[in-house]
Amino acid sequence: MRVRDLSEALGIELIQPEFEDTEILDGYTGDLLSDVMAHASSGSVLITIQAHKNTIAVAGLVGILAIIVANERPIPEDMVEAARKEKIAIFRSKESQFVLSGKLYAQLSSSR
């Protein structure tokens, strides 16, 4: 599954559409950026409610392809701006981190 497939596969809204459309390798869920930095692997999709421009900085370092903001948390404009520069997609969903994790995991394992 590629980044552009996420919207339809998970029923989530695309907020930042300028991204590199590559193959998704894994997922990671977490709201602590230090934790994401320590554990998330390159080529992952990050599920979080930490809607902040620093999330993009960490995502860029780790090599995260896309961020799904859960619980319909508001997304600040400077976060979208930073993501555009880094070519990281942002999606938003009203579902929780728990539900989104389950859905993404199921999708990724069935598309392999």
Partner: protein, 305 residues
């Protein structure tokens, strides 16, 4: 290669605050000794010896654009391989891992641990070389900061006597960044209410309001008091602090707006949900704030008859 013996996630709060608060540019060496692409490795070896350094960035004539880096290891390999007279360009490491000057120090520590290089070139927003950072720089900066910090955190609990018309009254002193004791005031309030057999829904609303206001004092204020007053038909929680004050209260009430730094966020707070949360569970909610003086937040929850 030596790493910095600091756990960047689980060290004491003071240290975590420090490594988020300090930026790479506060810690790095600003005067970078560089060489050109055509500089022979032999000359770089002399530079290292003379200046007592173990890595030399290779840049353009202005020392701004970074092409690579020659480390002590590269020099040793050149001596072994008999190509010490070759120009730097031929053998320098080009796969560079660099830091940005605005990143928190925590990133630099993680990088040193993760990549096991002895040094990282530091670039500014325009991708110009502005410094170099080694574990030595970091250790010195941390020692200086830790020496500055002496104040111990403490929390006192005071229980003033009840006044007429009041069922109960509690007053707690809350200190800035005192995560050790954070939550104790609201736990005390909850305990008192449990003894009075309040219905679980109301109890939960009061607990959420008390906890969020208490955490707000810990995370954002210079310290203050959390007071609790119970009357026949209502409970009032008041968080009063000594500063810094909220410049724009309306903005502070917006969900997601936060002034918390990266360290506070790493502890799971400061995502801009606290005040909106407290308001949501309250029947009356007011904020009175003056920049430079302080803030008083008052939350009232009506008790069911």
């Amino acid at each position: 290669m030596s790493t910095i013996p600091i756990n960047t996630q689980e060290s004491p709060p003071f240290l975590l605050d420090l490594i988020y608060r300090l930026k790479v540019k506060d810690v790095m060496t600003h005067e970078v000794i560089t060489a050109r692409r055509e500089t022979p490795l032999r000359q770089i070896q002399y530079i290292m010896k003379e200046k007592g350094i173990t890595g030399v960035p290779i840049t353009d004539d202005e020392g701004k654009r970074l092409f690579g880096i020659v480390s002590m290891d590269d020099i040793i390999r050149a001596l072994d391989g008999g190509y010490i007279q070759d120009p730097a360009e031929r053998w320098m490491s080009r796969n560079l891992i660099v830091l940005e000057d605005d990143m928190p120090l925590q990133f630099a520590i993680s990088y040193l641990d993760k990549f096991r290089y002895g040094r990282f070139p530091v670039l500014n927003k325009d991708r110009e070389l502005v410094g170099i950072i080694t574990s030595r720089d970091i250790i010195i900066a941390l020692l200086v900061e830790v020496n500055k910090e002496v104040e111990k955190l403490e929390q006192r609990i005071v229980q003033p006597p009840s006044r007429p018309g009041e069922e109960a009254r509690l007053l707690y002193h809350v200190r800035k960044y005192d995560f050790e004791n954070a939550g104790k005031a609201s736990a005390g309030i909850k305990k008192l209410l449990l003894e009075r057999n309040l219905d679980p829904k109301t109890l939960r609303r009061i607990s959420v309001a008390a906890y969020e206001l208490e955490m707000n004092l810990v995370v954002h204020s210079e310290g203050g008091t959390l007071s609790f007053r119970m009357e026949k038909d209502r409970v009032e929680i008041e968080a009063k602090d000594r500063g810094p004050g909220i410049p724009d209260v309306e903005q502070a009430m917006e969900e997601g707006f936060s002034t918390a730094n990266e360290w506070i966020r790493s502890l799971g707070f400061g995502a801009g949900m606290g005040l909106p949360n407290a308001k949501r569970v309250s029947d009356e909610f007011t904020i009175d704030s003056r920049v430079g003086e302080g803030t008083t937040v008052r939350a009232v929850i009506y008790l069911p008859k």
